[in-house]
Amino acid sequence: MTALPPVAVVGLGTIGCGDFSQESLASMTNRAVSAALADAGLERREVDGLFVHIGSPRGLDYDELAMLLGLKVELAVQTWSHGRFGATVIGTACMALQCRLIDVALCVGAFKSSIFARIGETGSIGFFEGMREGGGPHAETPYVGMVAPTAGAAMSTRRYLERYGIDRELLGAIAVAQREAARRNPLAMMRKPMSRADYEASPYVIEPLRVLDCSVPTDAGVALLLARSDRAAALAQPPVWVLGFQGVHAGPNEFIFGQPGLGIHQADVFDFVPRGADEPVYRRAGVAPDDVGTLHCYDGISTQVLWTLERFGFCPPGEAAAFVQEGRIGLDGELPVNTAGGHLSEGHSNGWGHMVELVRQLRGQAGERQIAGLRVGQWATTLGDSLVYANELA
């Protein structure tokens, strides 16, 4: 088998997190795209592939985006209307580059969530997926009174805590660690200091989850440019290589909340055995979990950090809550996690803030948050998708 050509992130643009309700989606997206092109030293006309995460009504659909931003592309791909597919958008761009269908890929995660006013609110009114034939993507079942993603997360969290005999207040370490990181991120929405006592005083949204277990809704705009090695070397920024990718897993046993086997939604009940270093993303990247210097994971709800740590073999099942104590996931910890503050404190960017942070960390441009000597960074989620990035080719 011929080795595939390496692909790197070569350009990065972000407008940060916040309330952009007065700005058009086209303007938000354009600012991110323009910043990414300037960062990479590429011209707009050089982009020939467009990969859009979130379309209408929260984001711009691919056709509108290309039309209003003056992009002329030969390959356009768009995923769905909310989170989850950030890594898939980037992974799909990598495949198109490696197959030489295109030369410069533009990946866009730009959308408005300012319609969801309160923390923990995402998914109540206007979140039409709750009315799907098979129930909502977070197990929403409106006719029994079960709505909002937080509900499915709470149901899995309760089962998980009971299954492994975990004290629910241990969850506080996640929100506190990520807030501490966000305090050193000028783009983060939530920068006020948070103590464990603040966390424990935080009211319940849906028991057993507190307000501070839930992400902060935000508007966001991120653009990443990717290119093959033949192009990447000559560009303005140090390339951040995409060493490995694996996609969102789906099926009756895949529920966004929980490691597999918790038995919520259609999932079966069984003992989950993580594959650890045998996860395809590690084999593809030629690394093991031990090589990962920083982990970035989808954290719409704090417990997702625990489930991701367990799913990818950083901790045995049931042990992640103990692992995240004592600052182990903080900036100076054993495994810094979500070092820009993540969805919990930077803002719910549907993973794009994490992608920005991974690139900045691996370029050595993370300022006060910089992890010394970093070589490998990973994105991973409770649905099994993952990207492994590195600042040098193995």
């Binding site: 109540s124 006719y143 029994v144 009174g145 709505v147 149901m155 899995s156 089962r159 849906i206 919520i264």
Partner: protein
Amino acid sequence: MSSPSDILPTPFPGAGELGPLLPPLTEQSKPFFDALREGRLVLQRCAGCHRVRGLVAPTCPYCGGQSFSFETMSGEGTVHSWIRYRRSYLPAFEALMPYVVLCVELDEGARIFGRLVEDEPGASPDPYAGMRVGLVLERWPDGGVTHAFTRRRESGP
């Protein structure tokens, strides 16, 4: 297969219309909601592996089997997990705050979600995993019927 007598629905204690909270009713999903109106909870049992599934689906999630029949559930089960709403999201359920939604493992094996019917929401002891519950049906002002659960008396160790 058990054949419990039909359950007489009690009035839904919340407010408003059920219609807007229902998924699209199709030939496939109608048997579930029609049966509730007739006083029964029905789910699909796979003709191949004989497992009962919680979501109406054309294919068995466990064995891939394509043949099934709708079967009346006993309505008895145990609590697998539970949550309690401290923030109101749905006006129809607002009067029931702080209400509990259970994930119930029916004795037939499937797990489904349903509200816990309580006389005084928030005043009863917390539910717990393994707690026995039984089916109740509730009729909404627009005539629709949904399922919920009520505590069963402890039968002792």
